[in-house]
């Protein structure tokens, strides 16, 4: 097939890692002025394919052609020189450098051998201007929200001269709706300039909003390329999962089943719990066997609430009692002993211990509760690991695999396993499904409902309203570091959205 609009053509790409074939005979083509969604579950091979295209990994077999010419991409530098630019899933910037330095890093304009700061800042402003963003580029990046950092990462990718291919790997996972819309505007504009965009996301809505074509990968294999208009959502999901959708329905029904049994003993009660500069005083009671959803935009105080209850931060006002006992000392270790668990929002920084094996990651919290000297013997550790790998469907060749080698969704499952093993009374999940695929999302939601059935109390924090609505009995809405409303029973997403936005 020769197509003069074809920008990138990857054929027969195969890449094996010890124990896993990450990519098997993959075909992928990208046209000029096209937004092409790359879809697939975690571990499907999307990230590896991108790494091959950007020269981070070298394929065992297969060819890459750029505008009809065969190329060998040996290093990220070379792929940049070819006009391929990437924004990775996790924001990969130096937060202590200024915005301008981040954007221009490695391409600083020079005058007489030293950096031409004025020009550097001007160029950075110009790069951000292309995205319609106006901010003080001399400020350190850490002063801005994750969303802005993401935009800076995109601006950095665009700042490369003559970008022909732009790869966006989960760019929207930390953006709110408004920011996402803005990003889409930018994407459409770039598309109009003839740039080919590879868009990786787990949000189906977004795919249907912007993508022209969709390529689906599953378990390292190429499944097919489709025009977005001719593929229905259900078909897409079914293709990605390689199975039917009854699982999705099971989650929707499960809620109905447990709702009547919700009236259990109160396991956690916060009265005026707050911390200056972090969270305004909040009242919250949590019963065994219920899911309390927390809805709110980024920075609304949802994570701060989780941190206070789990004891990462100590409150300076109010009180918290767990199982009727007032909490005096706040620390994760104390919480662990009291039966509170937290799956933190930032999986990479606060969750996984990458260089340790799956087994070691899973037993870490349990062992922490046992203390320094009571030993969990190795055989028992393997038993626990095997049990949870099976229970949560963690895809790995062995429990001795290092966690850093797992895909995002599987890492999340490892963290979940770490806490479920400790059999907590209260489990706080902060964005447990962020950046993971539909299949794993459904599995995690199902798991949450199973745990609740067993009498656990769960605080479920998520940016995805639909998800919060689906599995929560009560919903807490946060705004500007305050609890602004609490809904029980039937409430629709419109009401919650308006409450979140503050126009109700």
């Amino acid at each position: 097939m020769t197509d003069d609009r074809e920008l990138v053509a990857m054929r027969g790409i195969t890449k094996a890692f010890p124990g896993v074939v990450a990519l098997e005979d993959i075909t992928f083509s990208l046209r000029k002025g096209e937004i092409h969604a790359l879809m697939g579950e975690n571990g499907a091979g999307k990230s590896t394919l991108i790494k091959v295209l950007t020269g981070v990994e070298h394929p065992d077999r297969g060819t890459i052609a750029l505008e009809g010419k065969q190329v060998q991409v040996r290093s990220p530098q070379q792929s940049q020189a070819l006009g391929i630019s990437t924004v990775y899933q996790e924001v990969n910037l130096c937060t202590n450098l200024s915005v301008a330095e981040n954007i221009m890093l490695g391409r600083e304009p020079r005058r007489l051998g030293s950096i031409h700061w004025k020009k550097l800042n001007a160029l950075a402003e110009q790069a951000l201007g292309r995205l319609g963003i106006d901010l003080d580029v001399t400020q350190p990046l850490e002063n801005y929200s994750v969303a802005i950092q993401q935009m800076v990462a995109i601006a950095r990718a665009l700042a490369i001269l003559a970008v022909r291919v732009l790869i966006l790997d989960e760019p929207t996972s930390s953006l709110d709706m408004q920011e996402t819309a803005r990003l889409f505007d930018v994407m459409r504009k770039l598309k109009g300039e003839g740039i080919g965009i590879i868009f990786i996301t787990h949000f189906l809505d977004q795919v249907y909003q912007v993508a022209d074509r969709i390529t689906v990968l599953r378990n390292g294999k190429y499944i097919g390329t489709y025009d977005t208009a001719s593929l229905s959502r259900v078909e897409l999901v079914a293709t990605m999962l390689g199975r039917n959708l009854s699982d999705l329905h099971a989650v929707a029904q499960a809620k109905v089943e447990i709702a009547p049994k919700a009236a259990h003993a109160c396991v956690a009660e916060a009265k005026g719990l707050g911390l200056k500069g972090s969270l305004a005083a909040i009242d919250l009671s949590l019963n065994a066997g219920e899911v309390v959803g927390v809805a709110g935009l980024l920075g609304s105080g949802r994570t701060e609430l989780a941190r206070l209850i789990f004891g990462v931060d100590a409150p300076d006002s109010g009180s918290l009692s767990i199982d009727g006992q007032k909490v005096e000392r706040f620390s994760p270790h104390e919480s662990l002993k009291r039966g509170i668990a937290l799956c933190p929002e930032d999986r990479k920084a606060e969750g996984i211990v990458g260089e340790l094996s799956i087994r070691e990651n899973i037993i870490l919290a349990l062992q922490a509760r046992y203390g320094w000297f009571k030993v969990l013997n190795t055989q028992k550790q393997y038993e626990i690991a095997a049990q949870y790998i099976k229970l949560l469907g963690i895809r790995t060749p062995s429990p001795d695999q290092l966690v850093k080698n797992l895909s995002g969704g599987n890492q999340q499952k490892v963290i979940l396993a770490r806490w479920i093993v400790t059999q907590p009374h209260v489990l706080i999940l902060d964005e447990p499904t962020r950046g993971i695929d539909v299949g794993a999302k459904v599995e995690i939601q199902k798991l949450v409902l199973d745990l609740v059935k067993e009498g656990m109390a769960i605080i479920f924090i998520s940016s995805e309203l639909e998800e919060v609505l689906r599995i929560s009995q009560r919903i807490l809405v946060m705004r500007d570091r305050k609890k602004v409303a609490e809904y029980a029973g039937d409430v629709n997403d419109q009401t919650i959205m308006h409450t979140m936005a503050g126009d109700l």
Binding site: L364, A368, V375
Partner: protein, 358 residues
């Protein structure tokens, strides 16, 4: 998962490089200084270069064991040399038979006697080092000072403290029972070897049979996640520095006993650098995480085998440091990712890279 071929497994083992380095040096000796391997018996004691390696290397091996724990938590302890001096000074002062006496004469000072029981001397000696370690640990874990800066304080101040303890004097020790630690023999082997073996075995049992080893590694890899997992990351660090201080104190005990004196300026000089080198050679990364106590022991042995081989060859003292620099250079080059990849490719032509993520 396919098991890699045995040859490759050996090559990728953490201990491959330190053992290979040791083997190469010994091979060199076998060719150029065969006398290096001669072991004789005198008064029922073994002697020879190899015995000297373990005897002279004992303090470094001890410090390297402690340093391994600190480095595994993602830190470093620059003060070990100074702690050796403090601990040595502590021992010497307590031994001093004039201690508590009003009348100090040369006769009393040089008497082979002490007013302090040996047990107390040893305990005070170890306690001094452990307290130094706790101080470092407090600075790092509680005050959140970067390890290099925090331990630099004691590295500089420690030698001053050691001199304060000995009142600015180089104190010669005349008390014979104290010499046993650095010069004694049990069943033909130096006492220091037994001390190292004891500390190594106990430390290995503690880190591998209890979860402490796992916690230390977790802290070294991702302290934040470890804290979130309910592990007191602060106490793990505190423990590591205290243990390092304790190990340095034992080294101080052996060293001062070996040289019969306490010298605030010279006891344990440059030990921090040798210990770090030994740990790194042993396969523990400076960035923290996975560690190997045995690797560090081998690393220390490499350093001392090299040093004594140079002496045996007749390399003058002045040139020794340059020789060491070459050793360090080779080690650093061998350990770099680049050269490893190159070697990997040479060994298996297929060149399937390992450890890659996807």
């Amino acid at each position: 998962m396919n098991a890699p071929p045995p040859l490759k497994r050996i090559r990728e083992s953490r201990l491959f490089w330190p053992l290979a380095a040791l083997f190469i040096i010994l091979l060199f000796d076998a060719i150029f200084v065969p006398s290096f391997f001669k072991i004789g018996v005198q008064d029922g004691h073994l002697y020879g270069n190899l015995i000297d390696v373990v005897n002279n290397g004992a303090p470094l091996m001890l410090v390297a064991i402690g340093m391994t724990m600190v480095i595994a938590t993602g830190g470093v302890d620059l003060s070990v040399g100074a702690v050796i001096a403090i601990s040595a000074a502590m021992g010497a002062v307590l031994i001093n038979p004039a201690l508590g006496d009003r009348l100090i004469t040369n006769d009393i000072l040089t008497k082979d006697a002490t007013n302090t029981p040996l047990v107390i001397i040893v305990i005070a000696n170890l306690l001094a080092g452990t307290l130094c370690g706790l101080w470092n640990g407090m600075l790092v874990s509680r005050a959140r000072i970067q390890p290099m800066v925090a331990t630099l304080i004691l590295m500089v101040a420690g030698r001053g403290i050691a001199q304060l303890i000995t009142n600015g004097q180089i104190m010669t020790i005349y008390y014979t029972p104290y010499f046993w630690f650095g010069n004694g023999f049990i069943l033909g082997l130096p006492v220091s070897v037994y001390i190292v073996a004891l500390v190594f075995i106990v430390a290995s049992l503690i880190v591998r049979r209890t979860p402490i080893g796992l916690f230390v590694e977790a802290v070294g890899i991702n302290p934040k996640a470890t804290f979130y997992a309910g592990i007191s990351e602060k106490n793990i660090k505190l423990m590591a520095y205290a243990f390092c201080g304790f190990c340095s104190a034992i080294a101080g005990l052996i060293l001062s006993s070996y040289v019969h004196s306490a010298d605030g300026n010279n006891n344990g000089l440059n030990y921090e650098l040798d210990a770090i080198l030994a740990v790194v050679m042993g396969g523990t990364l400076m960035s923290g995480g996975r560690f190997s106590l045995f690797g560090s022991i081998i690393g220390a042995l490499v350093i001392w085998t090299f040093t004594l081989s140079m002496y045996a060859l007749g390399v003058p003292d002045k040139a020794l440091l340059a020789g060491r620099a070459v050793l360090v250079l080779i080690v650093i080059l061998l350990y770099s990712d680049q050269s490893r990849r190159l070697l990997s490719r040479l060994f298996d032509r297929k060149g399937a890279r390992h450890g890659a993520t996807h």
